[in-house]
């Protein structure tokens, strides 16, 4: 397993360097020399300042040197200065926007995958019975609905008419006027605690799998997951720091509900149909017959054998989904006025803010690769055949 992880990591880094190189040359090779237009020929910038800017941005150097410098700086997390918000650092802009996007879309991703998997499992098992039709039509209907319209209708109904949920934005400014934290601190704390707990749970389950004996193994897994959940509750309710921040985290969570629910509603059907076909295929396998012949109940056959094995192709599809987290989010961020990376990407490209666009693209690349990597690991954990093959 370790060798597998290391190999995947190395592949990932290599792939990223290639990706970054291609993106860099693509953007800098754009016709019309945007860089010069923006600084060298911009009449609004006085000649001296222009000279300073050009030198600071390194635009007077040969292309290859510029490229070399960019790469060196990039891996020191220095992405240069924004053209349009000059002299703001690109890294500051991204540091502000990225956590918001990740928190929103990761939550949505987990939510719609989980809903889709459960629904798909149900469909496969109730094949040909009542209920199947209703769920399928409902799911596919939502899947094919015109998304921005659906999102606006949801906002209108749940926020404007019923007033159950906040209308848009990611927080309520009134509550934050005297807040001792910035929104980003809260976002990051939320993200870190959730991530830490997830990693903790995953590690416990992984380690527990090494226990040879049956009951201690099951016990360790359940105990580990419960302990992880308990740690999370303890942090946000039990510690001084957590309790102080909790109302603000709660405000953000409240703002998350509607976009996550909408994203789940329109996306779960894809996962549902995938799970369903994967389950139906698995149920034709001989080992399902073996499981039945052993005297297992239908429920145990479904959950322990069919669903567990049918999970594999669903996990593969997660790779693609993780990669679309950002670009698929542009629409969502616009409709819900959620100021995240999607918005940065659109404005930086349309304003030809090359350093910002480049860095934004890189982060999409990084997220896609990291997502891919995590799913690969997950797949290795789920499917013992992969572990050895790697």
């Amino acid at each position: 397993m370790t060798r597998y992880v290391v190999r995947r990591l190395a592949q990932m880094v290599l792939l990223f360097v290639v990706f970054l190189t291609v993106t860099w040359f693509l953007l800098y090779a754009l016709p019309g020399d945007i860089v010069k237009q923006k600084f060298a020929m911009n009449p609004n910038i006085p000649p001296e300042a222009r000279q300073v800017a050009i030198e600071r941005l390194g635009l007077d150097k040969p292309v290859l040197i510029q490229f070399r410098d960019y790469m060196i700086n990039f891996f020191q997390l220095d992405f240069g200065l924004s053209f349009n918000q000059y002299p703001r650092k690109v890294s500051d802009i991204i540091a502000e926007r990225l956590p918001r996007t990740i928190v929103l879309f990761l939550t949505a991703l987990v939510s719609y995958y989980y809903a889709g998997f459960l629904a798909g499992k149900y469909l496969a098992w109730r094949r040909g019975k009542r209920g199947e039709m209703a769920v399928t039509i409902g799911g596919v209907g939502l899947y094919t609905v015109f998304y921005p319209w659906f999102a606006l209708m949801a906002i209108w109904l749940f926020a404007a008419e019923l007033g159950w949920l906040p209308i848009s934005k990611f927080l309520n400014p009134d509550e934050w006027r005297n807040a001792p934290f910035t929104a980003n601190q809260v976002f990051i704390r939320l993200f870190v605690t959730v991530l830490a707990v997830s990693i903790f749970m995953a590690l416990v389950v992984l380690l527990a799998n090494r226990i040879r004996d049956h009951r201690p193994r099951a016990l360790a897994k359940v105990g580990g997951v419960a302990l992880g959940a308990l740690l999370f509750v303890w942090y946000w309710w039990g510690t001084a720091g957590g309790a102080l921040m909790r109302p603000y985290a709660g405000d953000i969570a409240e703002h998350l509900i509607l976009p996550v629910a909408v994203l789940t509603a329109v996306n779960f059907a894809g996962i549902m149909l995938l799970t369903r076909s994967s389950m139906l295929e698995t149920m034709r396998e001989d080992f399902i017959l073996t499981a039945r012949a052993k005297g297992l109940s239908e429920r145990a056959v479904r959950d322990k054998h069919a669903a567990r094995t049918a999970l594999l192709p669903v996990t593969t599809s997660l790779v693609l989904a993780v990669a679309t987290v950002i670009d698929g989010g542009i629409l969502t961020e616009t409709v819900f006025s959620w100021p995240g990376m999607g918005e940065v990407l659109v404005t930086s490209v349309s304003n030809e803010d090359i350093p910002l666009a480049l860095a934004s693209f890189s982060f999409i690349g990084v997220m896609a690769l990291v997502g891919h990597f995590l799913v690969d690991i997950l797949y290795g954990v789920l499917d013992p055949r992969i572990r050895v093959g790697g």
Binding site: R212, D213, H214, R215, P216, E285, D286, F287, L289, T290, A291, R292, A293, K294, G295, L296, S297, H305, R308, T309, L312, L382, D383, P384, R385, V388
Partner: protein
């Protein structure tokens, strides 16, 4: 043969309901199985062998319908049991080595854990971890596997090893009956023979009953006491293996045996078995074998021949069994 039978299949009729009509896959089949007995079921592909095997565990396909008959295990009709009681009999009383058992393992769980699953279901009180591990080790040794392999995943086993492990799993709950449906067809001949011999040895040692299913009559001949010949959903001849081999009475059995190279003796003269087995959606009237039978008379296409006892434990369903040459060896002379 005076002990009450372990298993009685009594005039079993099972159809598959399809869009095109009913497939008559098991038609009026009766046989008994005593403790420690090895019974073989032979017949061409599609004659209903697997359908019978699945019926015994009540794992028949969803579109299968039992029209009549009973399957009695120690006198209790399995077909009348509620599902959760039937579940308790599976594996504990009747275990199975499936056709294509190569894929009998779930790829994501360790082999030992999959055996453990059966132990946990059927042993009361439950076995402790140590007891279970010990039991699985012993089973592995019995089928010639290294006990350490129990901690491995199925893909780490070769085909033959996987099949041995399947046998270990079938033995795990001390069943009184094991059904082996084409247990070795996917393996190469040498491994096939090794595994069959071992299965036979274990079966004799543990004194359990076994039903071997195969389309290969030579395989069955080596390991069974009793043999049943099936044709198009019907059991057409049932008798002691030696007897049926030496003096088959049913024309189909006769042709089948004479077209098979002898297991022990010199190669028999090949008498052709012409034509195809019938479509079970619409089986022939009267005797199902009549379109292919060289001994057929007018009566055969109209009236169905009943199972007739012609000697102790030897039954045949044919109007004209007396016409069938007594010995294949004699007939072989031109």
């Amino acid at each position: 043969m005076s002990a009450p039978p372990l298993l009685e299949v009594d005039h079993l009729v099972m159809n598959y309901v399809t869009e095109k009509g009913d497939v008559s896959a098991v038609e009026d089949v009766s046989f008994t199985l005593h403790q420690g007995e090895a019974l073989g079921l032979v017949g061409e592909s599609g004659c209903g062998k697997t359908s019978i095997a699945m019926s015994l565990l009540r794992l028949q396909a969803e579109n299968a319908v039992f029209k009549s008959g009973e399957i009695r295990l120690n006198g209790e009709n399995l077909l009348a049991l509620p599902e959760d009681e039937m579940r308790r009999h599976r594996w504990k009383d009747i275990a199975m080595v499936f056709q294509g058992a190569m894929n009998a393992w779930n790829p994501v769980y360790r082999v030992g854990d999959q055996i453990r699953e059966a132990l946990d279901l059927h042993f009361r009180p439950r076995l402790s971890d140590a007891e279970a591990t010990e039991r699985i080790s012993r089973l592995f040794e019995m089928v010639g596997l290294n006990p350490a392999m129990a901690n491995r995943y199925p893909h780490e086993f070769s085909g033959g090893m996987r099949q041995r492990a399947v046998i270990a799993m079938a033995l795990s709950c001390d069943p009184s009956i094991i059904i082996a449906d084409e247990p070795t067809t996917a393996l190469d001949v040498i491994v096939q023979d090794q595994i069959l011999q071992e299965l036979k040895k274990i079966q004799r040692e543990l004194g359990m009953a076994i039903i071997y299913i195969s389309h290969d009559i030579a395989v069955i001949a080596e390991v069974t006491d009793t043999i049943g010949i099936m044709y198009a959903g019907k059991l057409v001849e049932l008798g002691p293996t030696v007897e049926v081999f030496a003096r088959p009475k049913h024309p189909y059995a006769y042709l089948l045996l004479s077209s098979t190279p002898s297991v022990t003796g010199p190669r028999r003269k090949l008498a052709p078995l012409e034509g195809e087995p019938p479509n079970l959606l619409n089986p022939p009237t009267g005797c199902r074998f009549h379109p292919r039978c060289p001994f057929a008379t007018e009566r055969c296409s109209i009236e169905e021949p009943p199972m007739e006892t012609i000697a102790d434990g030897h039954r045949v369903a044919c109007w004209n069994w007396r016409e069938v040459p007594v010995s294949i060896a004699q007939e072989a002379r031109p």
